[in-house]
Amino acid sequence: MLQLGVAEPMRECEYSQISTRSSTPMETPYKKRTPKKRKWQAFPGRNKFYCNGRIMMARQTGVFYLTLVLILITSGLFFTFDCPFLSVQLTPAIPVIGGVLFVFVLGTLFRTSFSDPGVLPRATPDEAADLERQIDVANGSSSGYRPPPRTKEVVINGQTVKLKYCFTCKIFRPPRASHCSLCDNCVERFDHHCPWVGNCVGKRNYRFFYMFILSLSFLTIFIFAFVITHVILRSHRQGFLNALKDTPASVLEVVVCFFSVWSIVGLSGFHTYLISSNQTTNEDIKGSWSSKRGKDNYNPYSHGNIFTNCCAALCGPLPPSLIDRRGFVQSDTPQPTPPTNGITMYGSTQSQSHMAAATPLMQSEPVILTDEASLPGRTLLGGPCSGALPLGGQPTPPTSTPNLSCDNGMLPTRNDHSEAHHHHHTDGVHHHFLTPEEAPSPPGMLPCGSPLGHSHTLQGFYNPASQDSLHEDSVRGLVKLSSV
C-alpha cells in the first residue's frame, strides 16, 4: 500500500513526460489540421532520436558516454604525451597510424550506436487483425483464458525452425529475429543489446559493431605497446622512476589499456568465431545449432565455408532501414475500430496510443495495479538471474549482454508471460529492478520460472480474458482504451 503512494506521483510524471512529447493531437482537439509529425516522433519503441530522426539510440545511453570518454581520454593522452617523444625517437608513422586507427574506431562506434539495428516496424491494426483471425482459425476457438503460445513452424534448409508470435509487435517474428525488451522492438538477426554502444546489435549494424571491436582491439594493443616502449626508452636515459615522473599520463594509459585488452580482444575473438560460423550471440548461447542437441542439428543459415560466411556478414548488401524515421506520419483512412472514449482522432495508427497517454487518470488505476503486481515478481526475477549471468564454459563476452528475454524454447508458456512482464516496466519506476545485466535470463535458468509463477498468482485477481490485451499494451504504461 505504501508503494502505491510512491508509484503514483512517479506515474503521473511519466505520463506528463510522454504527453508533452506527443501532445499535439490532444491539446488542440478542435483543430482539423495539425502540423505534420515525423514518424520517429510517433515511434512506439523505447528509443531515443536525435537530429530530427537521423540518429537512433537505446534509452539508456550512460554507458555509451563512458565508452566514448574512455576512448577519447586514452587516445588524447597518447597523442599529447607519448606521440611527440615517439615520433622523434622512432618514426612519425606512429601518430599517423594511431590517428587512422582512432578515426576508424570513432567512426565505427558512431555508426553502430546511431544507426537502426534492423528494427521491424509493428503490425498495422489491419494486419494484426488478419493474423489473429488466421491464428484463431488454426487453433479452433480460444480455449480457456490464455491462448496457447503462438508459433509457426517452417523448414529452412532441412532444419525445422519455430517462428514465435510477438505479442507486442503483433507479428510472427522472422527467423533469427528477437524482441529486445530494453528497446521494446523486434530486431532482425538480433545479436545482443550492447550497453557499451547504447544500442541493439542486429542485422544492419553488426558489421559496424564488429569493425568497432576489431579496430578498438588494434588501437588498444597499439597504444599499450607504444606507451610501454615510450617508458622503456625513457628509462634507458633517466631511470625508471624519473621516466614515470616525466610521463605520468602513461601510467593511466597502461592501466586502462591493460584491462581493456582482455575483454575487447576476447570479444573480437568471440565475434570472429560467430561470423565464421554465421551464428548470432543469441543462438550461440542457447546452443540452437550445436551438435550437442542432436546429430542432425546444424546451422541452416551457414553458407558452408568460413570465407563465404565472413564475406556475407561483412561485405554483403546493406539492407535499408524498415522504419522510415524521417518520413511524415500519413493520416490513413479511418481505422475499423474507432477510439472508444469518443474523441475523434485523425486516424493515424499510432495516435491511439498517444490518446491513451493523454488520459492517464482514467487508466492509472489498472496500470498501477499491474505494475504493483509485477514489482514483487520483478525483484524475484532480478535475484536468481543476475547471480547466474556469468555462464560457465562459454567464452561469454563480459562487456556485452546478450538479451534473451527468457525467450528460449525450454519454458514455453512462461516465456511468453515473462516477455510480457518485461513490457510492463516503465523506466522511472522499475529501472533499478531491471538493469541491462538483469534483463536477460540465460537458458536453463529454471529458477526464473518460479518467480514468474508467483507474479502470476498475484495478478490472478485480474480479469484473465483481458490479461493478454494488458500484456500487449502496457508498454510505457500506456493502456489501450479497448481493454478498459
Partner: protein, 145 residues
C-alpha cells in the same frame, strides 16, 4: 469495362471492402520472399496466373537486391575502405533495387490491378512483412465482394 477504375479514382473515391495479406515465405531462409499461393479472396477479382506472375517478379527483384556476389562484395569493400562515407554520395545497390520495385508495383497497379478494383501496397511500407492487397468495393456490381 463497366467497372474500370483508374488509380486516382480508387484512392480517392472508392471504399475499402477488405484487405488481403500475403505473408513472407521463410522456407528459403531469411531472404525476402513472399508466398506465391493465390489468396482465395481474390479468386473472383483477378486471374490466378497474372497474380502469380506478379509475385514471382517481385520475389525475383528482392532476390536481386539481396544477392551476394562479386558486385556486392566490391561495394562492401569500397564502402569499408571509405569508412562508409561513400554512401553519402551514392545509393546502395539494395536501395536502387527498392526504387525499381516501387516503379514495378506502381506500373502493375496502373495497368492491371486498379482496373480490377485492387491496389497493391509496396511491401517496404509494411516493413517487408506482407504484401497488402486492398480490395475496393465494386459499385458497378453492387456488393463488395
Amino acid at each position: 469495362m463497366a467497372n474500370a477504375h483508374n488509380l486516382q479514382d480508387l484512392q480517392h473515391q472508392a471504399a475499402v471492402a477488405s484487405k488481403v495479406y500475403v505473408q513472407r515465405d521463410y522456407n528459403s531462409g531469411t531472404i525476402c520472399r513472399f508466398q506465391t499461393k493465390f489468396p482465395s479472396e481474390l479468386e473472383s477479382r483477378v486471374d490466378r496466373q497474372q497474380f502469380e506472375e506478379t509475385m514471382h517478379t517481385l520475389n525475383n527483384l528482392y532476390a536481386e537486391a539481396e544477392k551476394i556476389g562479386g558486385k556486392s562484395y566490391l561495394e562492401g569493400c569500397l564502402a569499408c575502405m571509405t569508412a562508409y562515407t561513400i554512401f553519402l554520395c551514392m545509393e546502395t545497390h539494395y536501395e536502387k533495387v527498392l526504387k525499381k520495385i516501387a516503379r514495378f508495383i506502381k506500373e502493375q497497379n496502373e495497368k492491371i490491378y486498379a482496373p480490377l478494383g485492387l491496389l497493391l501496397t509496396d511491401p517496404i511500407e509494411r516493413g517487408l512483412r506482407v504484401v497488402e492487397i486492398t480490395i475496393f468495393e465494386d459499385r458497378s456490381i453492387g456488393s463488395g465482394r
